[in-house]
């Protein structure tokens, strides 16, 4: 076994070094908590960057000194760094995919959500507003955003919106249906609002849950549904 050897030497810091690192970690944590309560930093959108930088520094402090990655064999560092990098990539990728980094008010301006929202701007929405004399009962655009962001696509398909579940009915040609709620109610805006307010109260046992929507959200969703081609 010619290639067998042992790389066992590690230079660990003295106990006083560990105490210094602990002191720094505690100070950083105290700064994090203090920063959390400084309201102007929230307003200026500086809270997240500051907290993330402090968090990374604490991460490096524990990994580098307490876990001895700074002094230990490089292979251990490679193992851990690979895991951390892959984990970070997965988190960022999933957050981007689900619009967490891309919605208004989020760190990065819209990419995927904007594309989804743009994809469903249909002539039907204008036609519906025209039918109501330019005074829609709700804002179809806001209803469409609500539909996408709150995950209605988990159960329903709506034309023009990428992806959609099949647990609930497909909402294509919604305005042309004679009835809603499984044939229980005539398809009128008032009945749609009644249904969205509390589906189980209208039809006990329905899979559609009570989403505790506000009156405004209900009106917007109703407008959106009638705008679908």
């Amino acid at each position: 076994m010619a290639n067998v050897h042992l790389a066992t030497e590690e230079h660990h810091p003295p106990a006083s070094g560990y105490v210094k690192v602990a002191f720094v970690l505690v100070v950083f944590t105290a700064i994090e908590v203090a920063v959390y309560y400084i309201e102007p930093l929230r307003v200026l959108d500086l809270l997240a960057p500051i907290l993330l930088v402090l968090s990374v520094l604490k991460f490096c402090g524990i990994g580098g000194w307490y876990m001895h990655l700074k002094m230990d064999h490089k292979l251990f560092f490679v193992f851990f760094a690979a895991g951390v990098c892959l984990a970070g990539t997965v988190i960022i990728a999933l957050m981007s995919l689900f619009g967490e980094l891309t919605e208004s008010g989020k760190p990065i301006q819209s990419i995927s959500t904007a594309l989804q929202l743009e994809a469903v701007k249909t002539p039907g929405a204008l036609a519906y507003e025209d039918q109501l004399g330019g005074s829609p009962i709700g804002n179809a655009e806001l209803g469409r955003q609500f539909w996408v962001l709150r995950g209605c696509t988990g159960c329903h398909i709506a034309p023009g919106i990428p992806s959609g579940g099949q647990i609930g009915p497909n909402q294509t040609h919604f305005s042309q249906r004679p009835t809603i709620a499984g044939g229980l109610l005539a398809n009128t805006p008032a009945n749609v609002e009644l249904w969205l307010k509390d589906p189980p109260a209208v039809k006990p046992g329905t899979l559609m849950p009570n989403l505790s929507l506000t009156d405004e959200q209900i009106k917007d969703l109703t407008a959106f549904l009638y705008s679908l081609p």
């Binding site: 006083s16 105490v19 307490y66 851990f80 988190i91 999933l94």
Partner: protein, 208 residues
């Protein structure tokens, strides 16, 4: 000029070259395995943190994070966990210089702080349930309990591991030459701490 203990050169640790250590990499199998596990465990927590982030702000029913999360209380828990990591490295330093008694004291202190953290988490979870937040209440409840609950499970395993090391040392089964056993327990414990650093920032400070 006299050199103080704090300024003394760092000790050189020699793990004895036993047959079990012989590998093609020249590194101890157990330590390589532990680091490989920790690297893979990062992915485990990445999936749970991603889940929390993706569901953030999408709960339709109260209670919402801002209603119930208590930052001062969790800050104290975080302090306990950070201090436990200090106890852990001091335990390792003690066993590496042959001080078994010192190692036992530090490792017991570490386990105590870990248990204190777990007690805090139990208290926090109980309060949340009483406030109406359960696993099935809303997306926040589901993602929060799963993420912090799995971290708590890791801490529980860590505390059991630390107590096991203590008993092994108490029975004379861990001496200076077995410092690697303490080091491996320490690596796991520090990983638990490092994950909490991320959770505290993402879930508690940024999530509210």
């Amino acid at each position: 000029m006299a050199v103080s203990a704090a300024e003394a050169p760092p000790p050189v640790i020699q793990h004895p070259p036993v047959a079990a250590d012989r590998t093609s990499t020249g590194l101890n199998h157990r330590k390589v395995l532990m680091w490989a596990f920790l690297g893979s465990d990062c992915m485990f927590f990445a999936s749970l943190i991603s889940n929390f982030q993706v569901q953030r702000g999408r709960s339709l029913n109260p209670p919402y994070p801002k209603d119930i999360i208590n930052i001062p209380f969790t800050s104290v828990s975080t302090f306990a966990l950070l201090m436990s990591s200090l106890m852990m490295v001091l335990a390792l330093a003690a066993i590496q210089r042959g001080d078994v008694r010192g190692m036992k004291i530090w490792i017991l202190a570490c386990a105590f702080l870990g248990a204190l953290f777990l007690g805090g988490q139990f208290y926090e979870f109980t309060g949340f349930v009483q406030s109406g937040l359960k696993l099935s209440t809303n997306l926040f409840g589901a993602s929060f309990f799963i993420l912090t609950g799995f971290h708590g499970t890791h801490v529980t395993i860590g505390v059991i591991w630390l107590i096991s090391v203590y008993y092994a040392a108490a029975r004379g089964r861990i001496t200076q030459k077995d410092s690697l056993s303490v080091e491996l327990a320490g690596l796991y414990w520090h990983f638990v701490d490092i994950v909490w650093v991320a959770i505290f920032t993402i879930v508690y400070l940024l999530g509210t």
